[in-house]
């Protein structure tokens, strides 16, 4: 079984003196994770809203056209 390799939590944070290099890499990874999934998830919301608006507009136009045709006849 693998064992915890550090003497306590502060030693873990210190990363054997390499904290300045190891932790930024893992922070960059966290950013990579967020950038990979969050914008497309927000994009989905935006896209559906946008398509909803387009459909509503198309429906409105159709009704409008029908009415105007009816008046002209």
């Amino acid at each position: 079984m693998p064992e915890f390799q550090f003497d306590g939590f502060s030693a873990f944070l210190d990363m054997g003196g390499y904290a300045l290099y190891v932790w930024p890499v893992y922070i960059l990874f966290a950013m990579f994770f967020v950038i990979t999934v969050v914008p497309p998830l927000l994009g989905r919301k935006k896209r559906l809203k946008q398509l909803k608006a387009r459909m509503a507009r198309a429906d409105f136009d159709r009704h409008h056209d029908k009415n105007s045709e009816g008046e002209s006849h």
């Binding site: 693998p2 915890f4 990363m15 054997g16 390499y18 190891v22 890499v25 994770f33 989905r44 896209r47």
Partner: protein, 254 residues
């Protein structure tokens, strides 16, 4: 096999498959990444020369793998775009590009941070690093090229051509450490025994993060492709049904 490929070419089928796969993918990916990161950071033994600094490897190597894998996949899609005009292939290629770009950036940054204490420099113009930086610019070039066209079909073809030209650089990156004298080391051999250069307790966490990265890649790929499908197929009835359904959900939430 061929039938499956044929189905994958259908946007609706791809969209539905994505929805069915996402819950599983999320579960497996989070599991792999959490285990891999905790194991790599805290439980893998320190390297006898680099100490704890080598723990950067659990991010650096998977990121490099994604840089490579993303581009090979884009190249396959590009071939499908140019030869068979598969529209799904272009959607997928477009979805991969930003993920591959960010993976390349993560690889370069983690490599630089690793280089400072071990090499004494964050950058050197050796063959490995230079060709990797070039790959980053190729990724960026493809994204910029796509945005330069108004016509979707022209953009698809132009990006496909640039991708197939750019893919030449991937084996150059791969073999740069053998063809030239580089400061960057070659691939380390993995051993099964405790006495080998890289015993299992060192490389097993890398397998977790590596497959976790692949899972993350597929999550991003599916989400981005689905957004693009919704737009390109907006005039079809099935997309209209999805939009109508979500409207109802939105109204129920409010």
């Amino acid at each position: 096999m061929w039938q499956w490929l044929y189905k994958l070419g259908s946007p609706k089928w791809f969209y539905d498959l994505g929805n069915r796969s996402l819950p599983w993918l999320w579960g497996v990916t989070l599991f792999l990444l959490i285990i891999g990161v905790i194991w790599g950071l805290a439980f893998a033994p320190p390297d006898y020369q680099m100490g704890d600094n080598y723990r950067i490897i659990y991010m650096h190597v998977p990121a490099a793998g994604l840089m490579k894998g993303c581009f090979y996949m884009m190249a396959l899609c590009s071939a499908a775009v140019l030869i068979w005009k598969v529209k799904m292939a272009d959607i997928v290629a477009k979805a991969i590009a930003p993920i591959g770009t960010m993976a390349t950036l993560l690889m370069l940054a983690s490599g630089s941070l690793w280089g400072i204490p071990t090499w004494g420099t964050w950058w050197i113009w050796d063959a490995r690093l230079t060709s990797s930086l070039l790959q980053f610019f190729i990724y960026m070039g493809i994204i910029v090229l796509r945005s330069a066209f108004d016509s979707q079909d022209t953009a698809a073809r132009a990006c496909a051509v640039l991708t197939l030209v750019g893919v030449v650089n991937i084996p150059i990156i791969e073999y740069s450490v053998e063809w030239w004298n580089t400061l960057h080391q070659g691939a380390s051999s993995l051993g099964m025994r405790d006495t080998s250069a890289n015993p299992p307790e060192i490389w097993i966490p890398a397998f977790f993060t590596g497959f976790g990265f692949i899972g993350l890649f597929f999550i991003g790929l599916i989400l981005r492709s689905q957004n693009e499908i919704l737009w390109r197929e907006r005039r079809t009835q099935w997309v209209r049904d999805i939009v109508t359904d979500t409207v109802d959900h939105g109204a129920a939430d409010a």
